[in-house]
Structures are given as C-alpha cells and as structure tokens.
C-alpha cells in the first residue's frame, strides 16, 4: 500500500502517494537513495501533467472556424450579358454551383469612359479579380492584367483569330474576347411599311428623307414629341462611334490611320459632321446632344422615334453572324427592324465594339478568377454555336421577314457589313486622350460652338501633340478585322 497508479486521460501515469500514520514529512520524502529516485519520478510526472494541461488548453484555445467560401469579384460591363440560355439558371449561379466559388457581380457605370475610370481605379487599388474590358482598353489597362494565353489555350482555339488579335499587347493576351459588337440601325418596320417604304434606308440621304416624312406624318397624327432619328449625341464614347460611322461613309478616314498618320482634318470628315449637325432640331431632338445609349433606346422603345442607332452583336467564334444585343422587353419589340448603318458616298460601315474578360495581376484568387473566365468564355462559345445552327436568322432589310408575326425578338443578319475600327491599337495608352479630344471636337461642332473645319484643324493639332504622329490623308478602307 505504498504507491498506486492512476490512468489519467490515457496520457500519463501519475503515482499517487498514500499517507500513513507516520509523520508525513519523512514518509513522503524518505532519505534513502531508492526513495530519492522515486522523488524524481514524482516531479517528472508532475511536469508531464503540466504539459498535458497546457496541451489541452491550447487545443481548445484554437479557432475551429470553417474555411470561408472564396468570393471572386467580377466587374461586368452593363450591356455585355451573354444571351440567355435555355437552362433557366443564371451563369453566376451555375458557376457557384459547379465550383463553390461565390461571385460578386458588379455592373459598371453607363458611359465607357466612366467604366474605364472605375476599372482602372479598382485595378490600382488591387480590388476586383475578373474585369470585363472594352475592346479599346487593352493598350490602357494591359499592364495590370495577366497573360491568359496558356490558361485558356483550349478555348482560344475556337475564337476568331482576328478578334483575338485586338486583345494582344506585345504578344501577351491580356483578355479573352467575350462579345463582339457592331454599330447598327434599328427602325420602326411598321411605320416604314405605313409610309410606303419597302426596305430600310441604305444611305443617310435616304434616312433623312424617310425620317422627315414619317416625323411630319406622325406629328400630324398628334404625336408632338415624335422625331425621325435618335442617336447618342452626349459627349461620351458612343458619340465617337456614331461620328466615326458618319466619317467612314464619306471616306473621311478613321481619325488616325493604321499607318500612324493623323487624318481627321479632311473635307469628307468635316462634311459628315456638318450633315449630323443639320439633323439636330430637324429630324433629331435638340436634347440628342445629351443622349446616351439608354436615352435613345428609351425614346425609341416608347415609340418616340422612327430610327435609332444601336449596337448589334456578333459571335466570337467567327465573323459574320450578327444579332441584336439588347434583349429588352418593350412595346416596340414586334415593330422593330435592324439594318446596317446607312452609307454615304463611300459606302457604309458600323463601328466595331465588344468586350473581353481579363484577370487582374493583383487578384488574390487568380486561379478562381481564371476558372470564372474560362467558364464564361465556354458558355459564350456554346451559345454562339447554338445560335448559328439552331436559330433562323432572317436577312436584314427584308421587311417581309421582319414583319413576320412569329419571328423572335432577336433578329440576326447574315450579311457582313463594313466595319470601322477605332484607332485604339495605333494609339495604345494614348487612346483615352485621343478619343476625349475627338468627342470634344465633334460635340462642339454639333452644339454649334465651333465651325466643323475649325474644330477639325484644332483636333488635328491636339492629336499631333498627344500621339506624336504626322498628319496624312485618310486611307482607303476602314481598318481591319
């Protein structure tokens, strides 16, 4: 009955000393050497016990929190939603379901330049993971984006190389094309038919004639606010796209040519701007100078205009198939037709737009971000392929087809129009300044603040200063795709 041992938590054997009737001191701490050895055991066990205690405390002291789901921030251009798919489930939901990665989907402001400002700010603050960037931005934002060529090697083989080339910066693929857009004309097919027209206008002269006639007729019917043609006259990038289309039709070049000469100060361009100025207050409302895309669509959809300049969509997989982009529910849906932008003396051309998906160099979730890009691009490719095979696309300008009661809201055209490409790849990081100067110049001509020829000369000077290029005549053609 000297010592006994006790199992304690299964970790250690602790000797327990029993007390006898003898004085406790000599009993507990006997002087003999054998007992002194036991002494050491006692202390060792005590130290062991202390260790166990500390271990236990440390165990419960630790946080047992679950890993939080990763959230990838996606900055999306407001108009670049992919076409709805029959699955009925939204793409972000589908992505979260498949990968477990949460998606924070941010729309960007309306105006392209505002979008650029915000995108750049977020990139610089190292916020945001996936960026939806405009076709004109690679030269401006490319430095802050990662090269996606290897991560999406499989996907980019399906993408039209010419589109892909717009996003290459010094051999680096800074973004993967997501949408391709072309400037289009939408028109009221019912009104055209009512006023005896068999096809939409092919030239600006024709549009003017049609617009005046319909506008006069409609106003006579009591629609005091009816206008012939609405477009985007506010000093935004949309104005640049409109004006470029006007210029291209007259052979006025594309501001800066692909041979890096500044061609904007030419009679054809000046003539085209003067034509547009003539429209204001004649076939277009004075407030068109403050119209952005939303405003012109709002007016058109409300039945307030006969013609509107809009963006049409094209697939990223190949060139040539076009669809209307904005899927919007309006009264006019069944009465709307689509046509190429009217032409001038040198033919017609629609501005090339579109966007691509990029991943920030500073993303904390680069892998998930790339996964999201891959997911979205795959969805888009799939959608494009289905659209090209499954949906019947009526010819544009065929008013009989347009008038088909059963046709879908999404109308597509097979005819390939001419394209005019903004000089973003020629000017690179300077494009923002170039386009601002161009917008300001055109807007000042439209408001009447400046004579067109004067504005063109001023703009030419400014551009020489900004880009450092020489001046030259406009080239044949309107840029390459």
């Amino acid at each position: 009955m000297r010592t006994d041992s006790l199992h304690f938590g299964g970790f250690s054997r602790l000797p327990i000393v029993e007390v006898r009737s003898a004085p406790w001191f000599t009993n507990v701490f006997p002087v003999s050497p054998t007992n002194s050895r036991r002494w050491k055991q006692v202390l060792r066990s005590a130290v062991g016990l202390l260790g166990v205690l500390v271990f236990l405390l440390l165990q419960c002291g630790c946080h047992t929190s679950n890993p939080k789901p990763i959230t990838v921030t996606y900055l999306r251009l407001g108009w670049s939603q992919p076409d709805d798919l029959p699955s009925g489930e939204s793409l972000p939901q589908q992505f979260t379901r498949e990968t477990g990665v949460q998606l924070s989907d941010l729309p960007l402001p309306e105006a392209t330049l505002d979008q650029l400002l915000l995108s750049r700010k977020l990139l610089q603050e190292h916020k945001g993971d996936v960026f939806n960037i405009d076709v004109i931005w690679p030269g401006i934002l490319g430095e802050d984006l990662i090269d996606l060529r290897h991560d999406l090697a499989g996907e980019i083989t399906s993408i039209e190389p010419q589109v892909l080339a717009r996003y290459e910066l010094d051999g680096k693929l800074v973004a993967v094309p997501y949408t391709v857009q072309i400037g289009f004309l939408e028109y009221r097919s019912d009104l055209l038919r009512e006023y005896g027209y068999r096809h939409p206008p092919t030239s600006w002269d024709e549009l003017e004639r049609m617009a005046v006639r319909i506008q006069t007729g409609e106003r006579a019917k009591g629609k005091k606010d009816f206008w012939g043609y609405v477009w985007q006259g506010a000093a935004t990038e949309a104005l640049a796209c409109n004006a470029l289309e006007w210029q291209a039709a007259e052979g006025g070049g594309r501001i800066i040519e692909s041979n890096r000469t500044i061609s904007v100060n030419n009679p054809a361009a000046i003539r085209s701007w003067q034509r547009a100025k003539r429209w204001i207050g004649w076939i277009s409302p004075p407030s068109v100078l403050d119209y952005q895309e939303i405003d012109s669509i709002n007016i058109f959809d409300k039945g307030g205009a006969a013609f509107n300049r809009v963006w049409g969509a094209a697939p990223i997989t190949h060139v040539g198939l076009f669809r209307q982009l904005h899927s919007r529910s309006s009264l006019m849906q069944s009465k709307t037709g689509y046509a190429n932008i009217p032409g001038g003396s040198m033919g017609s051309a629609g501005t090339l737009g579109g966007s691509a998906l990029a991943v920030s160099k500073y993303s904390f979730h680069r892998k998930e971000a790339i996964d999201l890009v891959r997911f979205l691009i795959r969805a888009q490719i799939r959608s494009n392929n289905e659209a090209s095979t499954g949906v019947t696309q009526p010819e544009i300008g065929n008013l009989s087809s347009v008038s088909d009661e059963n046709h879908k809201a999404e109308q597509s055209v097979r005819k390939t129009p001419h394209l005019v490409i903004r000089p973003s790849s020629e000017t690179g990081a300077h494009y923002e300044q170039v386009t601002r100067a161009y917008i300001d110049a055109v807007h000042s001509v439209l408001t009447g603040d400046e004579e067109a020829s004067e504005a063109a000369a001023d703009l030419e000077r400014k551009l020489v200063q900004i880009a450092g290029f020489k001046t030259g005549p406009p080239q044949k053609g309107t840029g390459t795709l």
Partner: protein, 890 residues
C-alpha cells in the same frame, strides 16, 4: 533529486522554486486573458460590421429619398429644383460612401476580403454620379420625357444593388453575432476547466518544491552539527560527508578544512616548541608543584616526564650563582612586583651550561587569590652565541669599511638618512655625534658644482624608484676635495617605497688616476693623429678587438665603437695587395711571429693610401697566441718624400759625375796650358840626370875609374830620374779620372808640390812664386787630386794674370778659428770690378783661351769639402783668392 537540487545554491534554489510557481500562475492567467481577448476580438468584429451596416443603411436611405425627390421633380419638370437637389445630394452621397469606406477600413481583414462591399459602393457611387449628370443634362435640354424614362428604367438596378448590399452586411452581422455567442459559451466552459486546474497544479508544485528544498537544507545542517560536536571534543580527524555545490556543501568543506588546519596547527605548535626550544611551565602555588611541557624538560636536559616535578628540583637545576636573583624575581612577582622576566643559567645533567630566558604571569582566581604561575622558558644559548657572532661580524664590517674607504647608508624618501656607517662619517669628515645628516646638510657637503645634479638625482630616485650610481665631489670641512662614488638601490615593499640602501666610497685616487689616464689617452690619440698611426688588437677568438680612433681613420672607416671585421678591412685593401696581405696576416697568426708589411688601401672616396703595418704576437704562458697587437701607419706622405729624396740623390750623383768630368776636363786643359812649363820641369831632372850620367861615365872612364865619384854621380842620376818619374806621376794622376777618394792629406805638402810644378811656368813669365806656410797645419781628410786642382787653378790664374807684366805670387796657409785658411795673391791687374762674384760662374773667363770653368770648379770642390772660396782685391795691385777648409771635412 536532492543531490540535483543541491547543485544549486540555496538562494537560486528558492528563487527557482518561486519562479516556477509564479510561472504556472502566469501561464494560467495568460490562458484566461487569451480567452477574453478572443471574445473581445469577436465583439470588435461585430461592432465593426454593425458600423458598416449603419453606414450602408444610411446610404440606401439617402439613395431612396433622392430617387423619390428626382421622380417628383421630373414630374413637375422643375429644372431648377432638379439642379438644386442634385447639388445638395451629391455631397451627402459622397459622405455616405466615405463613411462606408471608413467602416470597411476598420473591418477585420478576413471580413473585408470576403465581401466586395467597397467595389460595389464605388461602382454604385460612380454610376449614380453619371446618372445624375445625365438626368440634369437632359433636364437642361428640357427633354423631360427622356428624364422620366431614364429615372424609371435606371434607378431600379441601383436601388436593388443598394438593398442587396444592406442585406449582405446584415447577414454578415448576424453570422458574426451567432459566432460570438458560440465563442462565449465555449469560453465559459474553458475558464471552468482552466481555473481549478491551474490552482491544483500550482499547489502541487508549491508543495513538492517546498518539501524538496527544505529537505535539501536540513539534512546537511544536521551533519554539520555532528561535525562541530566532534571538533569540540578534540577530534580533529572528523570529516563531514557532504557533496554538492550549495552554501552548505561549501560550509562543510570549509569546516573540514578548518578541522584539518586546526589539527595541523596543534601539531605544528608542538613541533615549534621543540624547534624553538620554548617550553611552558605551570606552578601550582597550592601544591608548589610544577608542570613542565615536554620541551621544558628538554631545556633542562631531562627526559619528558608525565608527572609534575617539585619546585625544589627546579632550584637544583638553576646555576647556583644565579639562584639568588631567580628566587628574588619569583618572590617579587608573587608579591605583585614587577613581572617575572629574566635570563639565567641552567646546569644540565651532562654538565653543560645553558642560558635560558623565562617569563611568566601570576594567575588569580575570581576572588583575586593567587593560585598559579604560568610562563614559558626558552633556551637562548644559541641566540646569545649568535649575538656575540653578530657583534664580531659588525666589527669586521666596520674595519672592512674603514680599510676600503667605504661607508654604507640608508636614506629615507622623506628627506633624511636613517643610517650612516661610522666610516661614512669619516669619509665626509663629519662628526658622528651630530647624527646622520638630513638632505639639506648632506647637499651642503657636496662640491657646489655637483650639488644641483645630485639633488636632481635624488629627486629622480624618489620619483621613479630607481637606484643610482654616481660619482660626485665633496668638500670636507677642512677644505679638502674628495671624489665619492655613491651606489644606491631602492627598497620597495609591495608597492610602497621604503627607502634606499647604498654605499659611498672614497674614489679620489681612482678618479685622479682615471683622469690622468684619460689625459694620456688623449695625448696618445693626438700623437696618433699627428703621425697618422693607428693601433689595433686582434685576437683569434674575437677578431678585431680594438681600433684606436686614428686606426679607423687611417683605414678609411668612420671612427665608431666597434672595429670592423678583419675581412671588411681586407676588402678595403687595394685588390693587387689583398692576396699578399692575407698571406702576411695568416703567416703571422700561424707562425706566431712579428710581421711588418706595406700595402695600399682604397678609401671609400677612392683615394689610395700607403699603409705600413706592424704587428707582433702576444702569447700566453703555454705559447698560445692570445692576440696580435700592432699599428698601421699612413706612410703615403713619407713614401712620397723618400721617393723625391732618392730622385734628388740620383740627380746629385749625376751632377757630381758631371762635375768630376768637368774637373777632369779642367785639369787636362790646365795641363795643356802648362805643357811647356811641365815639359821644362820634366826636362830639368832628365837633363841633370844626363849631366850626371856623363860625369859618371867620365869618372868610370878614368883609370882607374873613380868609383866613388861615379857612384855619387849614379846616385844623382837615380835621384834625378826618380824626380822626373815623380813629376810624371803627378801629372798623370791629374789626368786620371779618379773618383773622389778622401784621405788624410798634408795640404802644405800639396802646396809645395804645386809650387814645384809651377816653377817652370813662373820662370817663363818672370813670376816669382813665394809661399808663407804655417807649420802647425793639421792633416785633413780630403781629396788630394781635387785640392791639387784648386791650388793649380788659383796659381795658374795668378801666373796668367801677370804673364805680361811679371810679378809675384804668394801662397799662404794659416790656421784660423779652427779652420784652415789658404790664399793665393798676385800682383796682377786685379779683379774686374763689376764681376767680383761673376768670376765664379761657369764659363766666365777673361782669358781668350780659357774655358771659364776653373774658378767655378774650384768653388764647387771647396764647398764639397765644407769650405768657402772667395776673392778680394788687394790693397795695392792684384787680387787674392781665399778659401777655407774645416779641420773636420764632412
């Protein structure tokens, strides 16, 4: 365990124990604080999120109210109101966004990361701003239709987004709240576990440590107690068995050492008594018995006994003559008189007499009654003998000092002499009765010129604790000046300078001798310098041992302390002479002989000097070479002078020959001049001889022949023949080209011969030849032929001077003032006035047929004999030529 603990000292042991306990308590408390901190963190998170929620909610509210206002303003088409409202709401919204941003900054990082609130807010803010711009612009263009449409279509997404944001933040807040509550619950259970466990462990440790430490102290203490008891009992060999490194182990080690030391001390005391011949005694006054220590017995020449002895026994041991004062001293001490302390003699049983010193005290008990006498006794016979020896040795020392004129002293650094030996007073001529002088008085004894330097020396000695060895002059009271050499050394005990010890010696004689020696040395050096003589010494073992200063100079070295090596000197020797010198030196060393040789040395400035070297060996008793000593002399100048002298000698010799040659020529020509006279001279005896021959023949032809007369005639023939032969001989000798031969000659004889020779010539020119010769003329050592030539020249001149007129020639000889004086006077025309001296020049002649050499040769001959030749005009007519010859011709 205990031994492990006792490796530490008691202080650290206790501190360690307490530190462990405090550490345990601290660990427990730290865990508690940690838990509280975790809860606090959670509450912070919740509060940060709540702030964010508030900010987001306010933003949403402001957004909604702005939308409502914009709607109503668009409806009323109030462009001014619209502008005002946008202007007003814009900063409000900016403030809201800023507030959200601030809240986000304060959000814990993990929360901020998961919710992209900020990008949403930024996006909404930017979108809102551009919307407001667009609305105001459209309003400004009065397109209210477009404004309304824009507001209707575009405000919704924004509102949705804002409310989504609010919802997501709310979700986060509630999630955090749930987590907080869970955390608190967990904490509660943890604290319930930690508190009792900590308390229990702390108590357990305190108990175990306390017990162990107490035990580690008490056990050794008990052992120490036993040890000290044993020591008190006189057991010096008892050792406490304690190990470890703590204070108690240290104390026990010290205790053990102390025991050993005590034991040793006890044994040493015994031993010391024996060695020092000191014993103790104890007289019990009650029993009058004496107890002696072992050594006391030995002092008395007895075997150590155990039992005490009677006082009477002691009395018998004391020398009878001393007993009286011994007993008197004992009684006096007992009577309270002077302390018992005396020396007396002890008679040992063997009959040996020992001197002992004994002293003791009386002991009184508490009541003051005498009961015991205790004391020690020491055999001081040896010491007494030593004292005697010391006295004797002191006497010898004093005598030694007196004889060596050397005194000793001890100087105290505080400025006075502790001790002066008697001889020192003697040397300084001071009175020992006045005691040792202090520094001032001591300095006053010095020669005024040495006083300052000596004072300086003493200062230095004290300051630097160094010794001295100086020789200075003192002036004794009686005015006598003496040289004193003073040698002292410092006495330093530890770091303290106790003083200086030293000797002073009268070195006047040595000093004067040294000065004399130095003077001589200087003279020698000067002499060597003047004579370009250097002296040297070389030994087979040490090479060049000594070079005098001049020796360095002669050999072209800079005078310096150490002589150059022999080989270095040989390298200086002219290359042509080196082998020769080497051989000479080697021979001198090998054969131990004196050597003398010349060589040339090339000085560093390329001057070549001739050196004459002389050396001779110094041998020790057994004939070994000890050293070579010698001189080197720069003989360059002397040699040059010798060479010059030799050249001059040769020149003189040549001249001499030339002279002889000339003289011969002169003689021959002179004879030529006199040929007629000489022929007559020779003819005379021959004619006389012929006449006599005729007479002889006649006398012989007589019948009977007159033999007698014939003989006389024949004798005359013989005489005349001889005379003729003589004359011829004389003339021939003139012709002879004889070398100068000095012989004793009778000059008067020569004069007579010459007169005879000139007789014919004189007769021819009607000149009378006279002579006035002194008879006392001594013979002198001279060249006969040369003297004949002189006389012949002078006489011929005289005769020829008068060849036209005739006259008289007088030849005189005199002895005057120790020299011979000759003169030849004529009565001719005399000397040409302008050329009185010129006549002695060579080639000077007044005669048409003369060579002009006669007088010049004559003067040279006279001078070579140490004489002088000169001419004077006579009072009357003619001239006289004089010449002198010393009696001792050089």
């Amino acid at each position: 365990m205990t031994s492990g603990i006792s490796k530490l000292k008691i202080g650290p042991r206790l501190i360690l124990g307490f530190a462990l306990i405090i550490l345990l308590m601290l660990a427990g408390n730290t865990l508690l604080v940690w838990q509280f901190h975790a809860v606090n963190e959670h509450s912070d998170r919740v509060s940060a999120l709540a702030q964010e929620l508030v900010a987001v909610s306010r933003f949403q509210t402001d957004l909604l109210s702005l939308d409502a206002k914009l709607d109503s303003l668009a409806k009323s088409e109030d462009i001014e109101g619209l502008r005002q409202e946008t202007t007003r709401s814009r900063p409000v919204l900016v403030t809201d966004i800023e507030a959200i941003r601030n809240a986000l900054v304060h959000l814990p990082s993990d929360l901020g990361d998961s919710t992209p609130t900020q990008p949403i807010v930024e996006s909404v803010g930017t979108t809102l701003s551009s919307q407001l711009d667009a609305v105001v612009n459209l309003g400004g263009a009065s397109d209210w239709n477009a404004v309304r449409l824009r507001l209707a279509n575009e405000k919704k997404p924004l509102e949705t987004r804002a409310s989504d944001l609010v919802r997501s933040v709310q979700q986060q807040v509630s999630l955090e709240l749930v987590q907080s509550v869970t955390q608190s619950e967990r904490l509660k259970s943890r604290i319930l576990l930690i508190l009792p466990l900590t308390a229990f462990l702390t108590l357990l440790f305190a108990t175990l440590l306390g017990a162990a430490i107490t035990r580690s102290i008490t056990v050794p203490l008990r052992q120490l107690l036993q040890g000290s008891t044993a020591l008190a009992g006189g057991d010096f060999d008892y050792q406490v068995q304690l190990r470890g490194k703590d204070e108690l182990a240290h104390v026990s080690a010290v205790f053990n050492q102390a025991s050993i030391k005590l034991g040793e001390l006890y044994r040493k005391l015994e031993e010391a008594q024996r060695i020092a011949h000191v014993g103790y005694w104890e007289r019990d006054l009650a029993t009058d018995r004496i107890t002696w220590s072992d050594e006391t017995y030995r002092v008395f020449g007895l075997q150590p006994q155990e039992c005490p002895i009677e006082f009477d026994t002691f009395r018998q041991k004391v020398h009878p003559e001393d007993w009286e004062f011994v007993s008197r001293a004992v009684n006096a001490a007992l009577a309270g008189g002077p302390r018992y302390n005396l020396e007396y003699r002890v008679l040992q049983p063997a009959g040996e007499l020992r001197i002992v010193h004994s002293e003791g005290d009386v002991k009184r008990d508490a009541s003051g009654r005498l009961y015991k006498m205790f004391g020690v006794i020491q055999d001081i016979t040896g010491r007494k003998q030593a004292e005697e020896a010391l006295k004797r040795s002191e006497f010898y020392l004093r005598e030694g000092e007196r004889l060596a004129h050397m005194g000793s002293w001890a100087f105290n650094p505080s400025g006075f002499f502790d001790y002066w030996s008697r001889e020192l007073f003697q040397i300084y001529g001071l009175d020992p009765m006045q005691g040792t002088p202090n520094l001032e008085r001591y300095l006053a004894t010095l020669h005024p010129q040495d006083r300052e330097s000596m004072a300086e020396t003493i200062k230095t000695m004290i300051a630097e604790r160094c010794g001295c060895d100086v020789t200075k002059r003192i002036v004794r009271p009686d005015g006598e000046q003496r040289y004193i050499r003073c040698v002292g050394i410092p006495v330093v005990d530890g770091e303290v300078l106790k003083g200086f010890l030293g000797t002073a010696m009268d070195v006047t004689e040595q000093e004067l001798l040294t000065q004399e020696l130095e003077r001589r040395q200087a003279y020698l050096a000067e002499a060597q310098k003047l004579s370009h003589t250097g002296s040297w010494a070389w030994s087979p073992t040490g090479g060049n041992k000594y070079y005098s200063e001049e020796c360095f100079r002669v050999l072209g070295f800079e005078p310096q302390g150490v002589p150059p090596a022999l080989e270095t000197v040989i390298q200086r020797i002219h290359p042509d002479d080196q082998a020769y010198c080497r051989e000479q030196v080697e021979r001198a060393i090998r054969e131990k002989v004196a050597s003398e040789f010349d060589y040339r040395i090339v000085h560093p400035d390329k001057r070549v000097r001739d050196i004459h070297c002389v050396g001779h060996p110094v041998l020790d008793g057994s004939g070994n070479l000890v050293e070579l000593v010698g001189t080197v002399i720069d003989v360059t100048e002397r040699k040059r002078a010798d060479e010059e002298r030799q050249a001059a000698e040769q020149e003189r010799e040549r001249l001499h020959q030339l002279e002889a040659e000339l003289a011969h020529i002169n003689r021959v020509s002179t004879l030529g001049e006199m040929a007629a006279s000489l022929a007559h001279e020779i003819k005379q005896p021959i004619a006389a001889a012929i006449t006599s021959a005729n007479s002889c023949i006649e006398w012989l032809s007589h019948d009977p022949p007159n033999i007698e007369r014939a003989r006389t005639a024949a004798t005359r023939i013989d005489r005349y023949g001889k005379r003729a032969a003589e004359i011829i001989d004389r003339i021939r000798s003139f012709y002879k080209k004889s070398h100068s031969e000095r012989e004793l000659v009778d000059v008067n004889g020569i004069i007579n011969e010459m007169l005879a020779l000139f007789q014919g010539e004189a007769t021819r020119y009607s000149v009378e030849m006279r002579s006035e010769l002194t008879t006392e003329l001594p013979k002198i050592r001279a060249d006969r032929v040369q003297l004949q030539q002189v006389f012949m020249n002078l006489m011929l001149n005289a005769v020829e001077a008068m060849n036209a007129s005739g006259g008289e020639v007088t030849v005189r000889s005199q002895l005057q003032e120790g020299q011979l004086l000759f003169s030849v006077s004529d009565t001719g025309p005399g000397l040409p006035v302008e050329s009185a001296e010129q006549i002695f020049s060579a080639f000077f002649t007044t005669k048409p047929q003369g060579s002009g050499m006669g007088l010049a040769i004559s003067r040279s001959i006279v001078e070579s004999h140490g004489g002088r030749l000169w001419a004077t005009a006579n009072d009357g007519r003619g001239a006289t030529f004089h010449f002198t010859l010393p009696t001792e011709v050089p």
